[in-house]
Structure formats: C-alpha cells, structure tokens
Symmetry: C2
Subunit: 323 residues, 2 copies
Amino acid sequence: MTVTRDDVVAAAARLAGLVRRTPALRVPALDAQAGAAVWLKCENLQDVGAFKARGALHAALRLSPEARARGLVTYSSGNHAQAVAAAARRLGVPATIAMPVDAPAVKVRGVEALGGVIVRAGTTSTERRAAALEVVARTGGALIEPFDDDDVIAGQGTATLELLEQVADAGEALDALAVPVGGGGLLAGAALACAGTGVAVWAVEPVAADAMGRSLAAGERVAVTPGPTIADGLKPVQVGARNLAIARAHVAGAVTVDDAEIGRAVVALLLHGKVLAEPSGAAALAAALAGLPGRPARVGVIISGGNVEPALVAHLLAEHAGA
Amino acid sequence: MTVTRDDVVAAAARLAGLVRRTPALRVPALDAQAGAAVWLKCENLQDVGAFKARGALHAALRLSPEARARGLVTYSSGNHAQAVAAAARRLGVPATIAMPVDAPAVKVRGVEALGGVIVRAGTTSTERRAAALEVVARTGGALIEPFDDDDVIAGQGTATLELLEQVADAGEALDALAVPVGGGGLLAGAALACAGTGVAVWAVEPVAADAMGRSLAAGERVAVTPGPTIADGLKPVQVGARNLAIARAHVAGAVTVDDAEIGRAVVALLLHGKVLAEPSGAAALAAALAGLPGRPARVGVIISGGNVEPALVAHLLAEHAGA
C-alpha cells in the first residue's frame, strides 16, 4: 500500500477548479432522526451526478500527454462510465466504454451525450473488463479502472477532504464518517483522507452485497454473490485489493442496511433535505439514521450519487411517504 | 419608496451566519434546454425550505429587544408561517400564526414542530390578517408582514445579493435574473439587489395569477381572482404596495408560465439538478427554460422553495418523466 493522505491532498490540488466543491448540507429533521448532528456531503450534486467524476478525472490527469492523447478506456455499468466520458471530453480526447448488453437506456444515453463510444460486452464485469482490455490492446488507450487504482482512490478521497474542511470552517469536527461501498474506491479515499484525524470511518453496504464486511472479517478478499437490492451501484462481486488493504488499515468497521432502510433514507433526504439521491447514494445516510456503532454525536455522510430512474423515485415516494 | 440597495447590503450583514448561504448550482442539461448559462440560487435548501427564512428573521432582528420579547405574530397559509416560527425560536420569543382552517396538515405540523402557536382563522387572507391583528392588540406582539414591509423586502433581497457574489466569484456576471412572484417580497428584494448592476430582473407569475404583470401594465395595483395553479405560493389577490413601487422602478418586466411548464421544470430540476423545488419554487426556472425576453446569455434563477407534498412529486414524475 503506497497511496497515503498526502496523495489525496495532492489530488485535491490537481482537481481544484475542475470538479465541483459540492455543498455539505445540514438538515435539522435528519439530525433529529439520527440522534446526531449530520453533515451530508452532496456528491449527487457533483458533475455527472456522482463522486466518480473525481477519481476518473484525476486518473486521466495523471497520464502523460502522449498516453492521454490515445484516449481513455473503461468498463462500467454505472456512474463510472459517464465519469470517464466526461473526463475525456474535458481533456479533448476520445473515450471508449465497455457496457453490458443490458445496460439501462438512460445510462447509455448519458455516455453518448458526453461523446463516449460504447462497446457492448456481455452481462458480467469480467466480460466488460476483457472487452476494455481488447480496446486498450488495439488503440493504445489508457484503462481507467473503476476502483482498484491508486490515482482513482486518491481522487475519490478529495470528496472527504472537502467535507473535513467544510465542517472545520463551521467550527466543528466529525466523530465519524459513513461511506457507501461498492468496490471500495470512495471508502479507501475517505479512509486515507481521515487518516490521523480521529474520525472513525464506517463502510456501509447493502445486506445483500456485503463483500467489504466479509472481507474485513476474513482479513482477505471474499467474493460474494450479490442478492437483489435497489442499491445497484453497490453490487460488485468483490472489493478491490488496494481498497481492502487501505480499509484494513484505516476503517473502523462495516455495517449493513436493508432496502427498506435505504428507501426510507432516499425519501427522507428528498422531502426534508430537498436533494435527490440514488439508492446507492443514500445507503450511508440510512446507516446514520439507524445509528452508527458507538452512537457518535457528529457524523459525516457521503451522499455518493443521484442518478436514478424517475419511476423508482415515484415508487419509493409511494412506499415510504404515502404518495 | 425609502428602501434601497444599501438596506439589502445592511440586511446581509445582520443575517450573516444566521441564515444559510445557499448554493448557486450549475446544471449542464438545464443550460442546454434554456439555451443559456443558468445559475440556480437554491433557496429550497434554505432553513425551513424557503427564502422566507431571510425576511422573517431580518424583520424580527430589526425590532427593539422589548418589542421582540412580546413575541412575533403573523398570518400565512404557507412558508412564511414556518419562517416566522423559526425566527421566534431562534430569538427565544413566542410566535403566534393565524392560519386558515383548511391549512394542509403538513404545514400546520411544520409550524407546531418549531414551537409556533396556531390560531385558526377562516379561509381568506383578509380573515387571517384580522385574526393576527387581534393577537397583536391583545399581546403587544410584533406583526411580521409576509411581503409588504421594508425590512422583509431587504431580507429577501439578500438571496439575490449572495447570488451576484457567487456568480462574480466564478468570474462571470449575469445578464438577467428570473424571480417568482406572489406578493412580491422576493422580487422587490431582488430588484433592489440588482439596482445599478445592469442585471435585467424579470417577474415570473403563473398565467392564472398574474397580479404583478397586470399591475405593472396598469401602473397601479390591480387585484386579480387567482385561477387554479399548482404554484400555490404564487396566488395572492394583489401584490404589495411597496413591492409594486420597487418593481416599477427597477424591474424589466413580467412573464407568465403555465402549470405544464412549471411541472416540467420541477421534474427537470429534480432529475438533472438533483434538487427538489415546490411548483412555486420552480416557476422562474420554467420561464428561463422557455426563454426570457431578449434571450439573455447568462441567467440567474431563484429557486424559491422546496416544500411540496410527496404525492404531488410522484404525480409530476408520472406526468412529465413517464414514471
């Protein structure tokens, strides 16, 4: 493990002015539900609607101009696809994204609207990665990994670094931070950003896809078969190797939330906080509302993204707000 | 007309640290729809979910300590009720609010949750105001007018003053600003904040409740009978006298939007911008998306509030996003 807090600080300097400094919101009604003071770091208001904009652009900025000119390549069924397409557009280079044949039309359109070229590749992450590597071999393009990469991790960590600054600017300090976990890029970055600060970082996963919790318990990467969950961004088969190593060194532990808790968190955030999170993006809030271990008094929560189908929003409102 | 831009600047100094500096969001997909660069001043993320927090607290701060101690009194069926209750709670004094007998339960609960005492008074604004004046006569409390008041207007203007600063901090300047109009408090404050800056301020009203447009055309206050509109916060029978005088001096003109345009703006803001506005709060965005007169290139939009029934959000998603 070579990436450190200093790398997150350096990433923030490289990304300054190129990604959004998203707001850190306070919502009294959510504080009351959580029994804690909660700061919501709204990465749903980030470019492309998710924190993924940070890591993808940072990794692209770290390439040599020659490597970058041959284009960016990645594989993703979710927000990382749009993030790489957006980074390539900003840098004026091509982007090729391997997406599953059953990718939602809204995500395909999102990538295409940003000028990305889509290669359809099976339905599994393994098939997508193979297709992306084939593009790299053919074009000499640079593969931007979704999470298991030092530059991606350092980039994602800048969200947490900003949050710590925003809380400090308000004259406060966090006791704990809740972070949603898929492959572990956001978590690893958050853990590095909090290293040495005394902030307890908690990994939050769906009960149906708890690869990080199981891996932390086993002390090594454990593959899982994700069950159904509305948190579609938190369903990798296993977490990244770098991500687990950083988590083992710097994370307080892992907790799980179920779909009902996630759905209620989406609705509470929307009606009380007036911001829209996708289910994956509200998972950490769900954990904070349920109460983190040790009941910390001042809790940061990363709202990681806001890209969600309109029909799902309407469904969750009907289910949890009686709409 | 004695209130000026200096009063808005002074109000901002008094309110510093007591109300939120709400974000000014940029949303590329909305820029594309509007054919302009749009800055969204998100007062739906303000305390109590609306800009009303500013004017109510500013008016309360301008009272002498003796007057303030006798309590705040107002009349409102909407966000001003919660704003006065919140101001009173912050200042540690009682609040009494005259609300209609048919007030929505969610708004009654909102006032009660903030410690406000509710007096039920008929169904019209005239009945509510009479009930509030009776409370003032009995208790010696201070009436906080909803919009036709210099201190309320100066307080509401601080939202626009912040937006101008935020745009300038980004190295830009606005050509125009779109502001939703009910009684005209937000508009008058915005017009004062923009006085001398070269920003063209546009009043935006529902077609069914265009009291400001008719009054500007007539050169005097014209009472209207508001028709049905989902923009329930933009339905006063007539605008304020001070508000019209300021608008006549400083506003470029008035435009109208219909319910379908407002509904589409709510949905576009939610899905692309990830923030929730109430219909009244999205009216100015609807006007910007339709194109303001003269097609200004750089447009500010005040998103004035976000307090909306969950069922209406679900209905608008079904109608305008196919949810």
